[in-house]
């Protein structure tokens, strides 16, 4: 190491993104030399495992690429396969597919805005934390998310990996009464959605204008979801079938997601790209809502993506209501398809942007080859480009913590779905030394706090009366002697217990459990002994007057704790010859018993 030191900031996980990734930033001489958004989501090889499968299995299998946007994968797959088998033009199927997609935009966008992105702008680490100060806003978001899930559930049975869609249409027609009831709730939520647009626009969004190319579908008369040509802000206008002639994926060493380029350049897909290219396809109500925010679209500020997402929530509600109102009578839930050999392409607008599928089938409709390009791998290079530009504008003199926070914020603007493309975001920052005297923020961060809730619990059991109470009294005497204070704080806790039902709560997260009980009717009075597990029944076999015997206590603990703690039992022998009260007996044996328990704890700790 000469003039350069390497700092590893262990943000073990980039919070609030879907999936696992890491970021390497190389800063030298106050300039960013390298930005790698590292995606580590283990490859699941979907394209290969689809090979040989029958066409009707494809919608259910590709849904598993992403739990947040399964509808997008299903819709792309059915459109691609129908391109081979014969396009489905049934108006009911078409309308229902759009309604299905509205549900997914609504739930995915609401989840992203409230659970993932908004805490960034308001200084919280999670939505539940944010809810303490913004209860109305968080609850509004969760309601909108639930409404999206309800649309998907109505059509597909469940909101994650729904089971309703098939090649040709749907497996069944949803109940029309339920659909009308849903419409009432969707209409009522429009007010929430327009408030949400204003709320997002009023967040403290950095001013960060950048030149970038937007890519989205464009349809002659609809805001794009399931159909359209692929266009870009740089003048591209192609059929989805020609995608591979213009967009190239390539592998880089630092990522399991393939990177995508349009004619050799990074590009943006997703809500902001869609609005930038399809503003005129939005209904007047959404357009005027956007105008009221004072933000001008098309926008070149990626921080406006949260507003674009909110606007699409409003749009999805309006569109869902319109679709239900104008829903044609269904001739059938699905058109019968005729499997045949061929190649088909499906391109739709997933919540996070353009999703492209290509399948080749044999004569029986089995998959010969598949190719899937998810939105996040398309955005990955744009994210790296954005981090570079955004951090340079923000100022590289900022601390690692500030730079990391800013980089994470930039990444979240893209709502990356790393399962689609990956989950840990480890930031590996390499840069030249700071000015002398300025300590690294790392140096200030102490050890991880010890969260362990009393791994060792000592419980006196039995009734609190008479000589039976000697277990209790021994524990009290241990407490008075400062027994727990000789160990590190939080390691040892002392308890008493007389009823079995109270035991489970006392041994939460316990690893070593010490039980102390009276052993009545003994000859050897005034002593104590360790009771081995195997001897428990024998030693304490006789029915006792206890509310809780040591054998019962052990049985309870072993049955409720699935990760059974180590249990060590001590008996304090009492009998007719025992002199004095339980208090006095406990006082006589506490020193020796304490030493024995200490030895047990030490033995356990050193294992």
């Amino acid at each position: 190491m000469t003039d350069q030191r390497e700092l590893h900031i262990n943000v073990p996980v980039l919070a609030r993104v879907e999936g696992e990734g890491a970021l390497t930033l190389h800063i030298k001489d106050q300039a960013i030399e390298q930005v790698d958004l590292r995606i580590f989501e283990p490859p699941r090889l979907f394209e290969k495992l689809l090979e040989g499968r029958e066409y009707h299995q494809v919608p259910d299998m590709v849904a598993r690429i992403c739990g947040i946007c399964p509808v997008a994968y299903q819709m792309c797959a059915v459109h691609a396969l129908e391109q081979i088998f014969g396009p489905v033009r049934d108006p009911w199927v078409r309308a229902m597919r759009r309604l299905f997609y509205c549900g997914e935009w609504l739930q995915s966008h609401s989840l992203h805005i409230h659970l993932l992105a908004a805490p960034d702008f308001l200084g919280f680490n999670s939505a539940p934390a944010m809810a303490a100060e913004y209860p109305g806003e968080v609850r509004r978001g969760l309601r909108l998310q639930a409404l999206g899930n309800d649309i998907i559930r109505l059509i597909g049975g469940r909101s994650v990996h729904p089971v309703g869609a098939c090649v040709g249409g749907f497996h069944h027609q949803p109940d029309t009464t339920a659909m009308q009831e849903l419409k009432v709730r969707l209409t009522a939520a429009l007010e929430d959605a327009s408030e949400l647009v204003h709320w997002c626009a009023a967040l403290d969004l950095p001013d960060d204008d950048q030149a970038f190319c937007s890519v989205a579908l464009r349809h002659p008369d609809e805001y794009p979801m399931n159909a359209g040509r692929i266009i870009s802000s740089a003048g591209l206008d192609i059929d989805a079938a020609d995608y591979e002639a213009h967009f190239r994926e390539h592998q880089v060493a630092h990522s399991t997601a393939l990177h995508s380029l349009l004619d050799g350049e990074p590009y943006l897909v997703g809500p902001l790209a869609r609005i930038n290219l399809n503003l005129d396809r939005l209904p007047a109500a959404v357009q005027s809502l956007l105008q009221e925010t004072g933000i001008r679209f098309p926008s070149r500020n990626m921080f406006h993506s949260i507003v674009a997402r909110a606007a699409e929530i409003h749009y999805a509600l309006l569109e869902a209501v319109r679709l239900i109102d104008t829903l044609p009578v269904a001739a059938q839930a699905a058109v019968t398809v005729q499997p045949r050999a061929g190649t088909g392409v499906g391109c739709t607008e997933a919540p996070r942007g353009l999703l492209w599928h290509r399948y080749e089938t044999d004569g029986g409709g089995r998959i010969v080859a598949a190719r899937i390009v998810p939105p996040t791998s398309q955005n990955q290079l744009r994210i790296e480009q954005d981090i570079r530009l955004s951090l340079e504008r923000f100022g590289l003199q900022h601390s690692e913590d500030e730079l990391r926070a800013r980089a994470e914020k930039v990444i979240r603007n893209y709502d990356p779905c790393i399962s689609c493309a990956t989950h840990f975001l480890r930031l590996k920052l390499e840069r030249d030394p700071r000015p002398a005297g300025q300590p690294s923020p790392l140096a200030a961060s102490g050890p991880v706090p010890d969260h362990d809730p009393a791994p060792v619990v000592i419980i006196g059991i039995g009734s609190p009366h008479g000589l039976d109470a000697v277990g209790w009294k021994a524990v009290e005497a241990l407490g008075a002697s400062g027994f727990a204070a000789r160990f590190r704080p939080g390691l040892v806790r002392l308890e008493n217990c007389s009823v079995p039902a109270a035991l489970p709560a006392l041994i939460t997260a316990t690893r070593l459990l010490v039980l102390i009980d009276a052993l009545p009717e003994r000859d050897a009075a005034n002593g104590w002994c360790r009771i081995e597990r195997d001897d428990l029944e024998v030693v304490t076999g006789a029915p006792s007057s206890h509310t809780l015997s040591i054998a019962e206590a052990v049985a309870v603990c072993e049955s409720v704790a699935m990760v059974a703690p180590r249990i060590v039992c001590f008996g304090i022998t009492t009998g007719p010859g025992t002199a004095g009260s339980a208090d006095e007996v406990a006082g006589r044996i506490v020193a020796g018993l304490g030493d024995a328990i200490r030895a047990e704890i030490k033995a356990w700790l050193t294992e």
């Binding site: 290969k48 989840l111 049975g157 309703g164």
Partner: protein, 258 residues
């Protein structure tokens, strides 16, 4: 002291974590009642925190994931796997049946940069698992029932019955008996609410095998409906390919067909 939980992700689609994130306003109640120490997607990050219950989504498919799952086990009182991937390998475990090196080379130009294990494994192959929640995905009802049981100090109720029982309770007409549609319901574990027969289609087995599944009887029935051995194998080898009963039923037919 509030009980503590963690949610960890391994190789998966994220769909089972959504059973938490899709709780709606109940999500806020959950965060009030338990101390969520690690749940990256929801915000809290402290992967090595000691917790009462760790929920694990996803299968183990890289050397790094083996290390991580051991850490999770060491810091958790209970470890509960959620979903088909964590419990039975998931869809991605289908690569165990093939030459995954060849697959990798087909997708990645330089597969040497991709570090994976030879076989995708359920969590229980690497560490002790205290409870398995089946489903692709699990639903919120299953999760809340598990949390409530564990926190009350009792073992969560298993739901080993077949879909058929759930289907009958819902009053659906049997798709296989009435329409001859192949249905995995008779050998599949309940818990989903018999969704597929509810939308007029056959169950595709995403909750894995039920208790004592009569896979051979069902396979015989499928053959009677005209399915080839390969088609039958593909039904068993789909969402929970590492579940022994489904693996055996599927694998034997693939071999017979070779």
């Amino acid at each position: 002291m509030k009980p503590s939980i963690a949610v960890h992700k391994f190789s998966s689609c994220d769909g089972c974590q959504l059973a938490f994130l899709n709780l709606g306003e109940d999500l806020l109640t959950l965060f009030e009642q338990v101390d969520v120490r690690h749940f990256a997607e929801a915000g809290p990050v402290d992967a090595s925190a000691e917790v009462d219950i760790s929920f694990v989504e996803g299968s183990i498919s890289t050397p790094d994931e083996i290390e991580r799952i051991r850490e999770v086990r060491a810091h958790s009182r209970y470890l509960v796997t959620i979903g088909a991937c964590a419990t039975a390998g998931g869809l991605q475990a289908l690569r165990n049946l093939a030459d995954s090196g060849e697959w990798m080379a087909a997708i990645y130009a330089t597969p040497e940069h991709i570090h994976t294990l030879d076989a995708v494994a359920p969590v229980s192959e690497h560490v002790k698992v205290d409870r398995e929640l089946w489903g692709c995905p699990v639903n919120s009802r299953q999760l809340l029932a598990a949390i409530n049981s564990l926190l009350a100090g009792v073992v969560p109720r298993d739901e080993p019955d077949s879909i058929c029982l759930e289907c009958k309770r819902q009053g659906h007409a049997c798709v296989m008996v009435t329409r001859g549609v192949p249905c995995m319901g008779p050998v599949t574990r309940s818990g989903c609410g018999a969704l597929c027969p509810g939308v007029d289609r056959g169950c595709y087995g995403c909750y894995g095998p039920c208790e004592k599944p009569s896979t051979e009887v069902l396979a015989h029935w499928f053959a009677g409906l005209g399915l080839t051995p390969e088609q039958i194998a593909q039904r068993f080898l789909a969402f929970t390919p590492e579940a022994p009963a489904f693996y055996a039923a599927g694998r034997s037919r693939l071999t017979a067909d070779d």
